[in-house]
Subunit: 203 residues, 2 copies
């Protein structure tokens, strides 16, 4: 095995262990054993369980960011195009990489301060394209939300939740879910084509 | 102290411990000590850390359900009224009981099967009023969402996320947040007063 392969295998096995036992319950010895490497080889790649956790969370983030970049290169550069592209990336990440995506949500709290601040900064940066699309869409008049920050958080909240209920064997394909959440997101930003022309909600 | 007071105090101290150290790291000995009761008194009330966790999660659920019942009694019984009431209850729970509300989200995974299935059933029941409001609103024509299940999940997802970003010292009052999320929820269900009369989104 090359060094890169070992690392990849260690991460894959660790992910499984973390999903099954949580960070606290996962054993670094068992991860090495199941990967088929010695404990010293394991420590050569990851000096601690914290390093393993940080590497795992960062690899999830890499994967999500690659999806966003691909969508943004492929889609039209208007705020609406970027909003739809971001939602598509996030829905695909939450469904196609469900396990990874759940870990990112549940295990971040186990990162120690040394790793946590860098990771939080990455998280912030990874949602920047959505924040920027929201701001630009409000400027251009495409989005009419009176509270862009809440629209932004709502879109993240509703897409993030998908990882908790999605069933790969369920009725909906990933692309159907993408389409639905794009439709919902257009409403959450009060897109001009779905916002009422003048009247206010009757509530 | 009466037995009820001891129980309440134990739960309050335990909540703090679980927030600070997580379930795995929380110590039942330290919880008893900080509450000022003997370990045997502690075990008299809660025979295990699992019982303590289950009691804590259930007390969070009690509190949320009380809020929903109050709102439903006070508000108009139309699907729209119930939707707005449910959102108000959930937003208030996520903000005014932020700590409790985060525990419910992060520590449920530590419940053992013995407690987990009953708790999952309670969770399901607690979201039943929202699901029912959605179904009734679609029937009555108040809500025009073509996918009520996704609207339902999106509303839960966006309201649940509030516990993660809410700052009691922030600019918005709880009631301002309630109002914003009610407005967003009306859009997520394609409420007839905010849905476009005929045309489809241009996306």
């Amino acid at each position: 095995m090359t060094s890169g392969t070992v690392q990849r295998d260690l991460l894959a096995v660790a992910r499984r262990e973390f999903v099954e036992h949580g960070y606290g319950g996962a054993s670094i010895r068992s991860i090495a054993q199941k990967t088929g490497v010695s404990l010293s080889a394991m420590y050569y790649h990851y000096a601690s369980k914290q390093e393993l956790l940080a590497a795992m969370l960062n690899s999830g983030m890499d994967s999500f960011e690659r999806r966003v970049v691909e969508e943004f290169e492929a889609k039209d550069p208007t705020p609406t195009g970027r909003l739809l592209g971001y939602v598509a990336s996030l829905v695909r990440f939450r469904t196609l990489e469900q396990e990874q995506s759940q870990l990112v949500q549940t295990e971040t709290r186990n990162l120690e301060p040394e790793f946590l601040s860098a990771y939080r900064e990455r998280q912030r940066q990874s949602s920047e394209p959505l924040r920027q699309a929201l701001a630009d869409g409000v400027d251009s008049g495409e989005f009419r939300t009176p509270f862009p920050e809440d629209s932004y958080r709502s879109i993240l909240g509703m897409c993030n939740a998908i990882a908790h209920w999605y069933e790969p064997a369920g009725d909906l394909t990933v692309e159907e879910i993408v389409h639905r959440y794009q439709e919902l997101a257009l409403r959450v930003v009060y897109h001009r084509d779905v916002a009422p022309p003048a009247s206010e909600p009757s509530s």
